[in-house]
Amino acid sequence: MGAFESFADFLAMNGYAFYVWLSYGLAFLLIVALFLWSKWQRKSIEQEIVQQQQVRNIRQQQVNSEMKL
């Protein structure tokens, strides 16, 4: 298997497992987080726009911004 003798060796990374895997993990995590965040942002903006449109429609039906008892 590539530069390693066994899969266990590969996981152990010559004793540097912690550093190597943590750094790859963190990098992966950050990228995924950025991706999810962007997705979430997009969704919330879409919702916001649709909602705003609805509100506008509702208000047009209500027609007034007057105080009532």
Partner: protein
């Protein structure tokens, strides 16, 4: 019944009012008049206990006003509204403070802010901000309302609604004390107290 006896306030070595006594009966409205700087605001703040008086005491139903907590509603020049929060959140906090359970969105509709419930108050117009503050009148359980220039920035129709609110509150046995530089309709006003500008 609200009774204020022998109130005296001296500000900056100037006597604003001296030995002033008045009372408001159940179901009546006191219209406090006077030119700018006469001491109307000071008098109102003294009545609700936000101002140290040189002399005199105020009682609501024979109790000192300081103990009347939720029976008094004072709305002054300052709106008591956080600019960063939305109208809805502001109203929610007020209800929490006053321990009320009400339908806030309905209230927002009533004060004419429909559709603006989640906009930070900062972005509302002057009159809309004022409406957020005045929304407290709608579901108030307080017997005594003390309102300092409530009509500021409110449009003509809004003023009518407020007057109708006063009438309703009076009919339910409430008491109202109002100042304004815009005249109130005569059918709402029961008593008038005029403060003069004293030198």
């Amino acid at each position: 019944m609200l009774s204020a006896n022998n109130l005296t306030c001296i500000r900056n070595q100037r006597i604003l009012f001296e030995d002033l006594s008045f009372s408001i009966n159940q179901g009546s409205l006191l219209y406090l008049k006077g030119p700018n700087g006469a001491g109307k605001t000071t008098l109102m703040r003294s009545v609700v206990g936000l101002n140290q008086l040189q002399q005199g005491k105020v009682e609501l139903d024979q109790q000192p006003i300081a103990d009347c907590g939720d029976n008094v509603l004072y709305l002054g020049h300052k709106p008591a509204v956080n600019e960063w929060l939305s109208a809805e959140q502001n109203m929610q906090h007020w209800c929490n403070l006053k321990n009320q359970q009400i339908d806030i969105l309905a209230l927002i509709n009533k004060v004419g802010l429909a559709g603006l419930h989640d906009v930070p108050v900062k972005f509302l117009s002057a009159g809309q901000k004022r409406r957020v503050a005045l929304s407290r009148l709608w579901n108030s359980n307080a017997k005594l309302w003390v309102l300092d220039e409530p009509f500021t920035s409110i449009d003509v129709k809004g003023v009518e609604v407020l007057n109708a609110l006063f009438a309703r509150h009076k009919s339910q046995g409430g008491m109202v004390m109002v100042t304004s530089h815009q005249d109130l309709p005569t059918n709402v006003v029961d008593e008038v107290l005029s403060l003069e500008y004293r030198f």
